[in-house]
């Protein structure tokens, strides 16, 4: 074992390096101890290189500054010298020792180095290997988000297969007339995308089809797709969920049954598409927001767009009842000001308004906060607020893949490390509405993230993995499923390894290196190289002297 100490240019005054090297030299498995001024610069690296090439040591301990700053340099240097970097053990004697105490900390520094030595003795080499990865991506959902993802991936040279539950592509945006201020109407945009997909031989489309079973891990998902007639299974490297969202006027949110003069945003869009067909032009239209879900951007954005379309096409009076207009999207504030200039009246309430039907018209009663008194509005048409819900198959698919959903039931746990498009399982990505992201602008950046995520994972057709860094010992494993249930990344499966019985098998690519499985395993069958029980206990035991 070779030990390198760095006194950071002599600035670590409260550590007596010669004393340390004196104490540690006595240990019989220590080949040499070098004291250098700056291991992180060229001269330090030259010193390490010459030492390693001349002495035949099988472990390296470096006591220097924080791993966060220097570990990568030492690892890269060792790789160049054909020395397996997993046999390197670090001790931080600067930020965590010399800089945290006035007095002499030689004794603490010695003990920190002893801990690193204790661990180094037990380190085992871990090889790196290229694992073939399937370059194809499965896109679930043929709406705007799904098609755009497939087109972007194909542009970067990756084959995709779109699986759409309905019989045609297009999804939710097929029903929306357009976005105010956007010249090309969404319909044209959708049609051009559909034709582009048909022409693109990088994209295969399976309509009225559904995923019935998912097995395998990232790089090689074995997915069974069932259509009406037959069921077949394909292999994919990654899965992008673009299953959109569903809107509904829920009875418990709105006592009055929709229909007649209470319509949804989509019905309003239908009407606007052909205003001349209307029997009677509605004089006044009322919008109600923030009644059932105060935290969604969708009602505000769709209302602002439709309100301007109504003023333009029907010219009827428009009143919007809301609590907090969600204008925190790009361009939303401009739409709000444009609407106000076009004569739309915005009324703000604190308690939700009472709404009831009266002789063919709808009455809305609410205490307006700005005026400070009760406002009663009689309108011919009321556009009720819809609640955005997760698509139908969410529960089934998320349990099939054992991935989490958030508090509103949409895909993707509420964890900042996953934003914007990742899931806890590597190779499973979410885009747009299905993860609760309902406005078009943000959905576009989701798509880019998912595309980049899968591109960097699969583009080369292979991925570098650390072979069996976390390994299950088939002899000890009782297949008690504890690790499979505990693994937050779904990286462990029950497989028939070379032995005859089924044991837990950890996929090197899907494993994110957290070690939870090694901690929960009741049979101590899982060895996490670098942080195995013995290695951690070796560090713990050094304090006993």
């Amino acid at each position: 074992m070779g030990i390198f100490l760095c006194d950071c240019g002599g600035s670590l005054k409260n550590i007596d390096f010669p004393k340390i090297s004196g104490d540690l030299e006595k240990l019989e498995d220590v080949a040499f101890i070098d004291i250098s001024h700056s291991l992180c610069l060229e001269e330090g690296e030259k010193a390490i290189t010459s030492r390693i090439l001349s002495e035949n040591i099988n472990r390296v301990v470096i006591a220097a500054c924080s791993a966060e700053l220097r570990e990568h340099k030492f690892v890269r240097l060792l790789e160049e010298l054909r020395f397996n970097p997993s046999l390197l053990s670090l001790a931080n004697i600067r930020e965590q020792c010399s800089w945290t105490c006035e007095g002499d900390v030689t004794e603490k520094a010695t003990e920190l180095i002893r801990m690193a030595i204790g661990k180094a003795r037990l380190l085992q080499p871990v090889e790196r290997k290229n694992v073939p990865v399937n370059r194809e991506v499965l896109v679930l959902g043929g709406g705007f988000a799904g098609m755009k993802s497939a087109l972007e991936l194909s542009r970067l040279g990756i084959r995709t297969t779109i699986v759409e539950r309905k019989s045609t592509l297009g999804g939710k945006l097929k029903e929306v007339e357009g976005f105010y201020g956007l010249e090309t109407s969404l319909k044209q945009m959708l049609d051009s995308m559909i034709t582009a997909i048909e022409k693109d031989n990088n994209i295969e489309v399976l309509t009225s089809a559904e995923v019935t079973r998912v097995r395998g891990e990232v790089g090689d998902f074995d997915i069974t797709i069932g259509g009406g007639r037959r069921e077949f299974s394909l292999s994919f490297g990654a899965i992008i969920f673009a299953t959109g969202y569903r809107t509904e006027i829920l009875p418990q949110d709105f006592e009055l049954k929709p229909g007649g003069n209470i319509i949804s945003q989509l019905d309003l869009v239908e009407m606007l598409r052909a205003p001349e067909k209307l029997k009677r032009r509605p004089e006044t239209i009322g919008f109600v927001l923030d009644v059932c879900d105060e935290n969604s951007r969708l009602p505000t954005l769709s209302s602002l767009n439709n309100v301007l379309a109504v003023r333009e096409k029907l010219g009827s009076e428009v009143y919007v009842f809301c609590k907090n207009l969600k204008v925190d999207s790009e361009g939303a504030e401009e739409l709000y000001r444009e609407a106000r200039n076009r004569g739309v009246v915005f009324l703000k309430f604190d308690e939700p308004p009472q709404i009831y039907r009266e002789d063919g018209r709808v009455t809305i009663k609410a205490k307006d906060v700005l005026l400070g008194e009760e406002v009663v509005l009689l309108c011919d048409l009321l556009v009720a607020e819809e609640r955005a819900l997760p698509p139908e198959g969410t529960k089934g698919l998320s349990s099939m893949l054992n991935i989490g959903t958030d508090s509103q039931g949409f895909y993707q746990d509420e964890n900042v490390h996953l934003y914007p498009a990742a899931s806890a399982r590597k190779g499973v990505l979410f885009v747009g509405g299905c993860r609760g992201n309902l406005d078009l602008g943000r959905a576009l950046t989701d798509i880019a993230s998912a595309v980049m995520g899968s591109y960097s994972l699969l583009a080369l057709g292979e991925a570098v993995v650390e072979v069996e860094k976390v390994r299950v010992d088939p002899e000890k494993c009782r297949a008690c499923l504890t690790c499979i249930r505990a693994c937050p990344h779904g990286a462990i499966q029950l497989l028939r390894v070379n032995t005859e019985k089924e044991v837990a098998q950890i996929s090197d690519l899907a494993c994110d290196g957290c070690g939870v499985c090694a901690a929960v395993c009741p049979a101590k069958a899982i060895n996490f190289e670098g942080y195995s029980d013995e290695q951690i206990l070796a560090e713990v035991e050094t304090i006993g002297g």
Binding site: D328, D350, Y419, T445, D446, M452
Partner: protein, 413 residues
């Protein structure tokens, strides 16, 4: 056609674009104006109360370290873009770099130069604890040697002789095939609204001040006398949604509520009030947090216009819309939730690169719903330089810009 890309600005979105491109095999030049990368987001604090409030600030340090370490990214600190020529696929970017008196690759941040520096406060400034690259910087305005006097104490003691005073500003030519502009934003200068009294009274802070206080001290004390604040007010939409800035900055409601919850958590008997116009509570994972805040924080609809100091306390005059009359309330601390405004110098960068500015002063994009391509082919936008965004959206936007740039490169291959 060389596969290298220049990213201007090392903030949240800039480093994300750089990382995504580098991980996809491109060579990236990251041009950063300051001495360290990280931009504004790196100076923000974690606002968790033992439970994460999803502000994503903790993603930045990990990315910064990945960038500093990545073999395919070369970071040019203290650098600005002086000129541009060529077209998409073959740009020539002229970069001007301030003299590096302390060589980044030699400095081990041991602190001995600061030890011997005679000036007070030290001319050889230690970097902020999470600066990347973590190196000492010489402040020209205070260094005796750079002001012409004879002094090279630090040069003598530096163990890795990283200090060299006769280094000149460098001018570099970078040939790249695409450019991503990620120059970030400026916080609204609250002094511009005189009636709110920022700068006149010590106990009026802005959101940025709170970030720095919590980052350095971990808890909030009254700037005037260091005691605990009993009654705190947050005023929303300062510098957003008014005539000069016709947009919602999207971040102020959220950071105000996070701070309010954190303050309430640290000393529960403090009374916290938020004055707002429209409370923005949308976003992944924010609904639950909003319900939690509703029980603990007092929300008043109506934004104050004037704050005066009477007998050591701050008297806030505001129109309480719910009751429909003007009221006065006294607080011992007021925080102005300042919004996002375009950088003052984006005008000069726009002129150099030839890209247009939108009507709010942010860089303009080619068409609506395409938030990354500018009017010049091959130049893309990332992050808040294109419009107000919070940290998760800036990061996602950085990825989108990287994906856009890669698309151009694949096309001109």
């Amino acid at each position: 056609m060389n596969k290298s890309i220049a990213v201007i600005g090392g903030g949240a979105s800039g480093i994300t674009s750089a990382l995504e491109l580098a991980n996809s095999g491109f060579r990236v030049y990251l041009i950063e104006r300051e001495a360290a990368i990280g931009g504004q987001a790196a100076s923000f604090c974690c606002k968790a109360t033992d439970i994460c409030t999803k502000c994503s600030v903790c993603l930045i340090p990990e990315k910064l370290n990945e960038v500093a370490v990545h073999p395919k990214i070369s970071v040019l600190t203290d650098s600005t873009v002086a000129g541009l020529s060529g077209k998409a696929g073959d740009f020539e970017v002229e970069v001007l770099r301030k003299p590096q008196y302390i060589a980044l690759e030699r400095c081990v941040a041991c602190g001995m130069c600061a030890g011997v520096c005679p000036t007070e406060p030290k001319a050889s400034r230690s970097p902020s604890p999470d600066a990347v690259p973590y190196c000492y910087v010489i402040d020209e305005t205070r260094c005796l040697r750079l002001r012409g006097e004879k002094c090279n104490l630090c040069q003598g003691t530096c163990p890795t002789n990283a200090i060299d005073f006769d280094r000149e500003p460098e001018r570099k030519e970078l040939s790249v095939s695409a450019i991503i502009v990620a120059t970030g934003f400026e916080v609204f200068n609250a002094r511009e609204i005189g009636s709110l009294g920022y700068g006149r009274y010590p106990n009026i802070l802005t959101g940025l001040d709170l970030e720095r206080i919590f980052k350095d001290q971990g808890s909030l004390k009254l700037p005037s006398n260091g005691k605990e604040a009993r009654r705190i007010a947050f005023i929303q939409c300062v510098g957003s949604r008014n005539e000069g800035h016709g947009y919602c900055s999207q971040v102020c409601c959220k950071y105000a509520m996070r701070f309010a919850r954190l303050i309430k958590y640290q000393n529960p008997d403090t009374q916290v009030t938020i004055f707002y116009i429209d409370l923005q509570t949308a976003g992944k994972g924010f609904a639950e947090f909003y319900d939690e805040c509703r029980g603990v924080i007092r929300f008043i609809r109506g934004v104050p216009v004037e704050i005066l100091e009477t007998s050591g306390e701050l008297e806030v005059r505001f129109e309480n819309i719910s009751e429909g009359k003007v009221e006065r309330e006294t607080f011992d601390l007021v925080t102005l939730s300042v919004g996002i405004t375009p950088r003052k110098d984006s005008w000069s960068l726009a002129r150099v690169l030839g890209i247009n500015l939108g009507d709010h002063g942010f860089f303009d994009t080619k068409e609506p719903f395409n938030s990354i391509e500018t009017n010049v082919e091959g130049i893309f936008l990332a992050g808040t330089c294109q419009g107000p965004k919070d940290i998760p959206d800036s990061i996602a936007h950085g990825v989108a810009a990287a994906e856009g740039a890669m698309g151009v490169l694949e096309k001109c291959k």
